[in-house]
Subunit: 425 residues, 2 copies
Amino acid sequence: MAVYEKMSAAELVALEKELSKEYESFKAKNLKLDMSRGKPGADQLDITNELLNSVNEQSGYRDETGFDCRNYGVLDGIPECKRLFAEILEVEPKNIIVGGNSSLNMMFDYIAQCMTHGAGAEPWCKQGEIKFLCPAPGYDRHFGILEYFGIEMITVPMKEDGPDMDIIEENVKDPSVKGMFCVPKYSNPEGKTFSDEVVKRIAALKPAAKDFRVMWDNAYCVHHISENHDELLNIFPLCRENNNSDMVIEFTSTSKITFPGAGVAALAASDNNIAMIKKRMSMQTIGYDKLNQLRHARYFKDVNGVNEYMKRHAAILAPKFQAVLDCLENNLGQTGVAKWTKPNGGYFISLDVMDGCAKEVAALCSQAGVNLTPAGATYPYGNDPKDCNIRIAPSYPPVDELKLAAELLCLCVKLVSVRKLIEEN
Amino acid sequence: MAVYEKMSAAELVALEKELSKEYESFKAKNLKLDMSRGKPGADQLDITNELLNSVNEQSGYRDETGFDCRNYGVLDGIPECKRLFAEILEVEPKNIIVGGNSSLNMMFDYIAQCMTHGAGAEPWCKQGEIKFLCPAPGYDRHFGILEYFGIEMITVPMKEDGPDMDIIEENVKDPSVKGMFCVPKYSNPEGKTFSDEVVKRIAALKPAAKDFRVMWDNAYCVHHISENHDELLNIFPLCRENNNSDMVIEFTSTSKITFPGAGVAALAASDNNIAMIKKRMSMQTIGYDKLNQLRHARYFKDVNGVNEYMKRHAAILAPKFQAVLDCLENNLGQTGVAKWTKPNGGYFISLDVMDGCAKEVAALCSQAGVNLTPAGATYPYGNDPKDCNIRIAPSYPPVDELKLAAELLCLCVKLVSVRKLIEEN
């Protein structure tokens, strides 16, 4: 294999013919594979089935204070579940609120709260045009929340160790910039972890908006897939040092620890923010599902239980990531038309192809039966300005299917790149 | 016992002395009883424990379409759970959305949606002062939601068969009146069911506001405690006849069918409203807890299963209601200082004492160790203009404790009434 850009026009045309033929034979296989979302596979779900038996007539339905979890009450989570999340996020239990099954819902709800009731200042919906900073490529559902509420999104490029802090520091001088969404550890989709330097600079921001909020979506906090664990600084003590205690709200869940459809979500925040969120919650609900909280707390006991458990997920996920990485290396390593990340954790591999090619690659994959996250989805408004980023989610398909899907993806990358080079010649 | 108002001053003073003595001896018992919230008792919760075993490795985790409920996906509820609620609420499954464990949360969220995104018109938060109609006595948490969002509440008196429709028809001529909250069956706290006439008049309303919404909280739709079942007309067909299809959103949950802390909630609405709510949901969550939906659907199978099951709750609740009603009749029946409802279902008995006495009765009860819902809570802003309504929640305490609590309540009503009459003499 050669570097495509150095090939002659004739070589490219010959290669295009060969790749097209290969592609047609892939199509004939009538594949139906999905690498679009960060869904755990059935093998991962199976290791958690026992959790469902951890609350029953023998073990009883009472939390450690004796409260009957079947009944109404306990707004912010049962103590043992708050403690579990406090250990995971390295905060005090009083700074934890345990929610329902979805941290996305808690994030959505916090933005909804800011819209109608503000974040210690005027409601955002009464402040005219407001904006959010969006490190990208990023998580499409963060962008979806902002778009739903009509909050203007400002794309901030991701560097190797996190978002471009120079751009962020410049933008927060604008008082209409009200916040930022980010995934600081094993980021979605690149699997990058913010460096100490980046975390320190975020904690030390001096936004013109006093109601500036960082939505710190720590979805992958314990989700290592390699033995090399990335380390993320705890941002809260740093915020306190900078008199920014109320600036960060952290979110996480067990969606990719236990069950995506029946896990438990939580947030961590300053005393002020906890009080404001609880005030809303006291009008919003009598309490979230405490039996499910009890199941989780009993099953894991503490953060060590969680960490041990995550090794079982890693054992399933690591070969899947490796299969995709091997396929990328073998097929595209010498071509010079693609680069990709090699994350130590999280759920995604981020693939960058030649500018202007990502949408076409996804379209070809789809026509041959392999679904990818829609190209562009990793950018605000679904608009990848260079049309080059593709998010690969290797978790869901079994390894043999995954290999096939990755083969097809590589083939499509090659085919689209070659066609583009021919066009440009 | 005599009618208090006909007693002489001397008789009243003597009675006051006697009642005070009785009250002091009650206080000496150091009671600690709770009749404040509509919480099922532990005996009611126990009958549902088997539900928790209805989803396990043997029975599997897939819904009837084969979808793995442990994983992400299925925004609006698994089919068998949608069908179950559709049968309960007598609508089509396509007009059902199944949520998390709290219908209050779904109501809160719908109002939040109207605030920022409107109900087919301008967002409510952009329409200046807006108002809601509140039949009262009513459910304090409805009023809490409205107060949280700064929506002005207009109290509408409850008559024997529902809210005063003349007042409602007059008020909806004001375009700033955007909706109404109500509990149409076995209402909270009076246990009244809206008559056919009232339901028809609500369905036929011609509000000036095109974005007027009726929050039809059918929390007690299958919650009979007597063999005489109240019947509530299905409002949706009537709305359609009046070109008001989008005016009503109906809510219910299994909180008082299975577990208050771990049930399943649902709403029913027109196609238009369902589409608008789903659009929001698609940004808000990847889906609610489907394993819990599956537990409920498997456990009950259909509405007949639910109806049979509710007889077991009735068998526990009926003696509790009877104990309170007997106590009220025996102690206050001849005094002429109180009247109360005798509901066929729901969770409450509503007690009206002499004007200006409810707060004092609740205070005396509390000082002797029996907690009631705060007097006034059944009215908007916690302000019962006559200070006469007390909500009794007989479900939680065991019968012997309940009898004691009801005895004390009756004693306090007598004592406060007598003192008031002495004062007025």
